[in-house]
């Protein structure tokens, strides 16, 4: 690896697109389809420049027919192609969930393992910019709940590229759920962590392995996606106040890296789970269950969680920020654990 490639910094969006592009170069079976993925480059930049490089034959703009083109992705995958399909916002899952849940995710199992569906369904998640109840959800817990699909949730450019390449090479259907606020888009407020060092060459990040985004000894924050960026900001601030926070970036929900979570919690004895998805019946409860099933004695303080309090995402900024897991709320929750 040369020095120039090591120091090159790009956005998460560009890193995703680069991962797809490298796989398209390597494997002629890989192609992309979705709404506005062509000349526009994806509304959230996930297919930036791919149309210019590969043309309309391999980067296909679809009609607004999600059941149709996601189903077509499944069919193409079954016949041995490797489609990367985009559902523009995860919130639109309602119009195509049968293809996703009853077909994409179940065919391998139903066929007794005889039929593979090697496709990637990438989709934008998350709020924070007043796009209101139908365009701001995370919903990864919903997909993770349904058996048969891997669920990837990158938090930074390096992982975004490596996880994309792993997802395309995976023989299983992979939901690749990226956060709009973490894409590094020029037209949206962004954390500097949305731009980072990314090698130019191809590499993989394994699906199912969490990362210790920051080491610490007092409290573990288990989190994912954009909330990793917020949690790292908070952890750095608290460091100055003498609180040592360990941040576990799950990177995928399915498979879930329980070992890394339990190891960290065992070390600190205090855990906060931060999730931008709805609170009940989701990731936060799942992590609590895993700890309780393994050894409730791991915790010195009661389990703590921060998630969207079971309301749709409201439009007006004061209300939206009232329910999102913001840095202030993360910080307060960590301090409560230390009190």
């Amino acid at each position: 690896m040369s020095t120039t490639t090591e120091t090159r910094r790009i956005t998460t969006a560009k890193a995703m697109a680069e991962g797809i592009g490298l796989e398209m170069q390597r494997d002629p079976n890989v192609f992309v389809m979705g709404e506005d993925v062509g000349a526009y480059g994806g509304i959230f930049g996930s297919t930036t420049d791919l149309f210019g490089e590969f043309g309309a034959d391999r980067v296909i703009d679809t009609p607004i027919s999600e059941t149709g083109f996601i189903g077509a992705g499944i069919g193409a995958a079954v016949e041995g192609l490797r489609p990367v399909v985009e559902l523009m916002f995860v919130d639109f899952y309602g119009v195509c969930m049968d293809q996703i849940s009853n077909h994409m995710a179940k065919i391998h199992y139903e066929s007794g393992g005889n039929v593979k569906v090697p496709m990637v369904l990438m989709t934008a998640t998350g709020g924070g910019y007043s796009d209101a109840a139908q365009h701001s959800q995370c919903l990864w817990g919903t997909f993770a709940h349904l058996p048969g699909m891997k669920v990837v949730v990158p938090s930074n450019p390096y992982d975004a590229k490596g996880l994309m390449i792993s997802a395309i090479q995976d023989d299983n259907p992979v939901m690749y759920m990226f956060h709009k606020g973490g894409q590094g888009l020029v037209w949206m407020e962004k954390n500097p962590r949305s731009i980072g060092e990314v090698p130019e060459e191809s590499y993989t990040v394994p699906i199912g392995k969490a990362a210790i985004a920051k080491e610490g000894s007092d409290v573990t924050i288990v989190t994912l996606s954009l909330s990793v960026q917020h949690s790292l900001d908070v952890a750095e601030e608290l460091e100055a106040e003498g609180i040592s926070v360990e941040v576990v970036d799950l990177r995928s929900l399915v498979p879930l890296d329980k070992e890394t979570v339990l190891e960290s919690v065992g070390k600190t004895g205090r855990v906060l789970v931060v999730d931008e998805d709805y609170k009940s019946f989701g990731l936060t409860g799942e992590i609590a269950a895993i700890i309780a099933e393994t050894d409730p004695g791991l915790l010195k303080k009661p389990f703590s969680r921060l998630a969207v309090p079971d309301v749709p995402i409201p439009y007006a900024r004061p209300m939206e920020y009232g329910i999102l897991p913001t840095r202030d709320k993360i910080k307060a929750a960590v301090k409560d654990l230390m009190a």
Binding site: I64, Q134, H135, E189, V311, P314, A316, M319, G322, I323
Partner: protein, 324 residues
């Protein structure tokens, strides 16, 4: 069908245009220097309907109390033409407690039960709801109708076809209005839609389908009048596709690099065209043009002032209204 009132239609188009133009200014006013979609007095996505006034005005000229509309993500023109209160709608767009939805909904989720008006940001998903409103009118024995509005891109969504079939098989008093503005974000109609006219698709469901060319408000008025009369008489649904014009970007901030006909967009503006037609007919004077514009300016400015004066919601208000 009532009497054609050209001056009223012109006035309504000017009013809507003034609204969309001012919202555009307001939307961009405080998003610089680093343009941030989530910043400013009006945050979030903003889909404006400038250029599409003939669709809304031609239809709504026939509507009466109790008639329903479901609009898509680009809803302002139909809302205003249908009598939704401009002040409350504007306050909603500003996310204020005095808004139609107390700041919960925003520009893509305007709900006005008094006028049976709603919209949805999920493509084509207002159509089944319009069918349901029409079903309610049918069961209650009123002669009210439901108008289901979508873009041409939405006509390739499953819910579109399910709704047409449902409306036809149940003879529902619903009128499907398709605004063909040539584009679904960056995707041109011919790249997404089999067949040049969605009006032809109506035949597959056994209902009348009309295509209105040239963004012509009077032709739209005629087509809508016939469809609405038919529905009120209990003779079932119809479909109208109007070839209209997206004067602005898909949403504000859209650079439209994908759009080859961008240079001629302003020449195709339907409002100066209609003004010229009315002047030729001797039905509109220069003084009237000026006073209609002045009235629209004043009304819209007052609505924006109303919105800005309305209090912001408190963070904990987010927890209200999940259940009745």
């Amino acid at each position: 069908m009532g009497e054609l009132d050209r001056l009223a239609m012109y006035t309504q188009m000017v009013r809507i245009r003034q609204y969309e133009s001012r919202i555009m200014q307001e939307y961009h006013a405080d998003k610089s220097p680093a343009w941030d979609i989530g910043a400013g007095l009006i945050p979030g996505e903003m889909h404006l309907a400038a250029g599409q006034e003939p669709a809304a005005v031609g239809v709504c000229a026939h509507l009466k109390k109790g008639d329903a509309i479901t609009a898509p993500h680009r809803p302002h023109h139909f809302a205003l033409a249908h009598g939704v209160d401009m002040n409350k709608m504007t306050a909603e767009i500003y996310g204020r407690t005095g808004g139609l939805c107390k700041g919960k909904g925003g520009h893509m989720h305007l709900f006005d039960p008094e006028n049976h008006f709603s919209c949805s940001g999920i493509i084509a998903q207002g159509l089944p709801v319009a069918c349901g409103q029409a079903l309610a009118f049918q069961r209650k024995g009123t002669d009210n109708v439901a108008i289901a509005v979508t873009g041409e891109g939405a006509a390739n969504q499953g819910a579109f076809h399910e709704s047409l079939n449902l409306a036809a098989v149940w003879d529902l008093p619903v009128i499907f209005v398709i605004e063909d503005n040539d584009w679904a974000i960056s995707v041109p109609k011919d790249a997404s839609t089999a067949g040049a006219s969605n009006a032809d698709r109506a035949a597959g469901y056994g209902m009348p389908g009309v295509r209105v060319e040239d963004n012509d408000v009077e032709a739209m008025y005629e087509a809508a009048g016939a469809a609405i009369d038919r529905a009120r008489a209990g003779d079932g649904p119809s479909l109208i596709e109007i070839h209209t014009l997206r004067l602005f970007g898909h949403f504000e901030g859209d650079a439209q690099a994908y759009r080859p006909e961008l240079a001629t967009v302003n020449e195709r503006d339907p409002i100066p065209k209609y003004a010229a037609t009315l002047q030729e007919l001797g039905e509109l004077t220069d003084d009237q043009i000026a006073s209609i514009q002045a009235d629209a300016d004043a009304e819209v400015d007052a609505a924006i002032e109303f919105a800005k004066a309305s209090p912001e919601p408190a963070p904990e208000d987010a927890l209200l209204h999940v259940f009745a």
